[in-house]
């Protein structure tokens, strides 16, 4: 065993970018001063018409550029969240084109971007207010512990495709930025309570106030409780769960050039599931039982932004603690310390240089069982990163070229670099095209280095082995496991065809190499002095590769000022295969676990008397690899604001069928349960 296993898992880091984008949006720092005598047009001699034709080359509105980004960006606004009736982040993410959201049971989700979906999807980076919530354990996200007060969300920005140059390793197929409002924007009280057919109860309390001029805070608490769902036989399952969380955020504009944010959260949840695992002590050699565990943790983040007149800096630090534990299978405690620095410099009117540094330290300790063991039991990992990116505006601002790269070091695979080139061309006022080529890597997770997971068992005497002892099939991590690589080619087109109709299309071709496969190893006799069983190892290796391609149009049509229609279609084709030298016998390919076709239509209608009504029809194609049939879901939401302080909300989901299965989890054999027709009503009082 290696002495100290300082790996550092991949992903992330460098949340700095997002905070810059986020913070600049939230607190517009004074900027753009000093009009030198030479080049300044005399705006007072210009008519309004002339002024309206002038291009803004602002330095202070970086966040607005998201709409003009040379990337496939989709933004979920606060209004979208409210009007969708979503009560959780995964629910809200269902409206993002190109994203796959599948519920496994009441407390587990599989969320992926552009393929490779799974409970342990490792190619999507998720940030909450600049804090990466990617777990180093499997390079994925515990979706049930990631939560915020949905009313306090400013927006969720989703970038499909690689974001590695800015966000680092593991921002391979997408980045989700959940950005909450500043404390200043959430002043006063909010009390909301809801109940429904699946989410039994949900309560939120938030209060925001002012400490002194320019310094604001809010505190919140949130509780919810979900009934268990039903399995495919219609029997009530054991997947109920409940969670309690609380937190605060403090924002201070200490000076017009400095802003400081401090925020933190703490949470605890209890979840249930039905687990099936190999067991040598059971007569059938399998054991199926309800397993109840808990997750708890917290985080504390501080960020300081300073703006000079033509540049700005951002320094962010955070600590994040996650505990996950259940009585029979696995327990893990991880602490993440992260520090990021970013500097944006405007060089002249047509060039913007951004560079940054990041450091991340992870301490992990875990407790093992027969089913899951992770070596070493304690590890400490360190990761360092730097990035630089330059954006140049050419041809009278009609063309933006962005070139940059991330450089990072992790203890598993050493140095990694993730460059990209992006070009955005403005064809007319209302049309733009973009193209990008980027490289991203997915660095190994702790489990891929030191895991032993017993996934199957073969009774003695079974052909073809006819072994006298039980055979335990195990997935092993390996120190030789390296990074997965992606070279991505993307193009996009945006048009504001009329004042009321816009279209955004993104298409991609992704070429993956060194994807994870499971190669058989030599059988191991276990037990002393007399062996009691044989382990058949399947060892993590990098022997899969292939391509994926797809197209994701999204259109919005404001038929009337009070009526908006939106539509989205996502096409995905995956052609991932094992390499010629792979001996991986499992039929397990990611191709069949993501839907080839997905589409939705959404209607948002403002009615008289402060009613609003939304309807969404969603189609998700079958998952042939998992034997999951396609399904339609019709979701309805009605909101009513009888007086300014009261918001009433009623949502119904899955109106077309009474229940359907959305996913089968990989690796850990928990019982998938059905997504049922649900009703949820709530009342919110603001004061």
């Amino acid at each position: 065993m290696s002495p100290i296993r300082k790996n550092e898992i991949s992903w992330m880091a460098c949340a700095g970018r997002m905070l810059l984008a986020g913070m600049l949006a939230v607190c517009p720092m004074a900027n753009a001063s000093a009009a030198g005598p030479q080049s300044v047009p005399d705006v007072t001699s210009m008519s309004l018409e002339d002024l309206m034709n002038m291009q803004v080359t602002s330095v202070s509105k970086r966040s607005q550029k998201v709409a003009d980004a040379a990337a496939a960006v989709f933004v979920i606004t606060q209004e979208d969240i409210r009007r969708s009736g979503a009560t959780s982040i995964p629910d809200a993410l269902r409206m993002v084109p190109g994203l796959e959201v599948a519920q496994i049971d009441q407390n587990k989700w599989a969320i992926g971007s552009r393929g490779f979906n799974g409970r342990f999807d490792n190619k999507l980076l998720v940030l909450i207010d600049g804090r990466s919530v990617y777990t180093p354990l499997f390079s994925g996200v515990y979706w049930n512990v990631q939560d915020v007060v949905l009313e306090d969300v400013d927006r969720i920005e989703v970038i499909r495709g690689p974001g590695a140059t800015l966000w680092g390793a593991n921002a391979v197929d997408g980045v989700i930025n959940i950005i909450t409002k500043s404390a200043k924007a959430t002043q006063g009280g909010l009390v909301s309570a809801g109940a429904g057919s699946q989410e039994a109860t949900a309560e939120t309390v938030r209060y925001g106030s002012k400490v002194k001029d320019n310094t604001y805070y809010r505190v919140y608490g949130k509780y919810y409780d979900w009934y268990p769902s039903i399995d495919t036989n219609g029997t009530t399952a054991s997947d109920g769960w409940h969670a309690l969380r609380g937190g605060f955020r403090l924002d201070s504009n200490a000076t017009t050039r400095d802003s400081i944010t401090v925020q933190g959260d703490i949470y605890h949840d209890n979840f249930g599931e039905t687990l099936t695992v190999p067991s040598l002590t059971s007569p059938t050699l399998w054991s199926t039982y309800p397993n109840n565990g808990y997750e708890s943790g917290g985080d504390l983040l501080g960020r300081w932004n300073h703006s000079f007149s033509r540049s700005s800096t951002s320094l962010q630090m955070y600590y994040d603690r996650t505990n996950i534990s259940d009585p029979t299978v696995f327990g893990d405690h991880e602490s993440v310390y992260d520090i990021d620095f970013q500097h944006d410099i405007h060089l002249g009117e047509s060039q913007e240089l951004v560079w940054g540094l990041g450091y991340r330290s992870i301490q992990d300790s875990n407790g093992s069982s027969f089913t899951v063991a992770l070596q070493p039991a304690h590890s400490s990992l360190n990761q360092y990163s730097a990035f630089v990116q330059d954006e140049v505006n050419l041809l009278d601002n009609r063309m933006h070229v962005t070139v940059g790269s991330k450089f990072e070091h992790n203890p598993f695979t050493g140095f990694e670099f993730e460059p990209n080139v992006r070009v955005l061309g403005t064809l007319t006022n209302k049309q733009s095209v973009w193209a990008a080529v980027s490289r991203a890597v997915r660095t190994p997770a702790l489990t891929e280095e030191g895991l032993q997971l017993n996934v199957g068992i073969v009774p003695p005497g079974t052909a073809p082995f006819n072994s006298p002892l039980p055979l335990v099939e195990s997935i092993f991590g390996s120190p030789q496991f390296g990074s997965e690589d992606l070279l991505a080619y993307e193009v996009g087109y945006r048009v504001q065809a009329t004042n009321s109709f816009s279209l955004d299309v993104a298409a991609f071709y992704n070429n993956y190499t060194n994807l994870r496969s499971a190669e058989p190893g030599a059988p191991i006799l276990v037990g002393s002095p007399v062996p009691s069983y044989v382990v058949l190892p399947f060892v993590a290796s990098n022997k899969m590769s292939g391509g994926t391609y797809g197209i994701e149009p999204f259109a919005e049509w404001k038929i009337l000022p009070r009526w908006k229609l939106m539509g989205s279609y996502s096409f995905l084709r995956m052609n991932i295969h094992k390499n010629a030298d792979s001996l991986d016998p499992t039929p397990d390919l990611p191709n069949g676990a993501s839907p080839r076709h997905q589409y939705y239509f959404r209607s948002s209608l403002d009615l008289p008397k402060h009613f609003e009504q939304d309807l969404m029809l969603r189609y998700v194609d079958k998952l042939p690899g998992l034997n999951i049939p396609s399904y339609y879901s019709l979701d309805l939401h009605v909101g009513w604001k009888p007086i300014s302080q009261i918001q009433l909300s009623f949502g119904a989901q899955n109106l077309l069928n009474s229940q359907h299965l959305e996913f089968i989890p990989e690796f850990i054999n928990t019982l998938p349960t059905q997504v049922r027709r649900t009703y949820f009503g709530s009342i919110a009082w603001t004061f």
Binding site: A34, A35, V56, T57, H343, E349, Y359, S368
Partner: protein
Amino acid sequence: MDFLAGSQVISRDTDFVPRDKTIMRVLRPIIAIGICLSLALGASAQALDSSDSSEYLIKAGFIYNFAKLVGWPQAAFAQPDSPIVIGILGTDPFGGIIDRILADKQIDARHFVIKRLKWGMDLKGCDILFIGSSEAAHLEEVLHALKGQPILTIGETPGFARRGCIINLIVEDNKVRFEVNLDAAKQADLNISSRLLALARIIPQAAADAR
């Protein structure tokens, strides 16, 4: 149960030595140099600053035009040459631009006076009040305090016009557009020229209880 035995058997890479210390030794000076460099660049960028067609230069031009195209009631100015007082409430996004642009300008016989204001100060001496986005949380209170005063309120934050600000500047496709709330203008007893209205997006006042 000795179930961990299996994983011990797999041979592990033992020449895996900690490299963190060396890396830190190399990185520390780089970080230090980086931070120094950034401060230096920041300072020099500040010195070089001469934003030409920046957003706020254009917005200052809009404000000047609004001043020309809006009619105040007679009582709003004591003298024919009383200055037009522009208040900038909250975080000031203009820097010195607006002062420079308007320094020697006048409309009829009126010069401009620019004041920086904070919420809580008396706002009633203004003829034009630019409300920064920093005031979004208590916009209603600000507007309430100005009720009935002939003050042209100008915002630059989505939703401000709907919430009762008379004019709201918005940036779309890198160009500045503006919304006008006619009800609010009427309440302030301001007369907005049709030339201005022809270019504006007219925004209805949200009913008082809609927020």
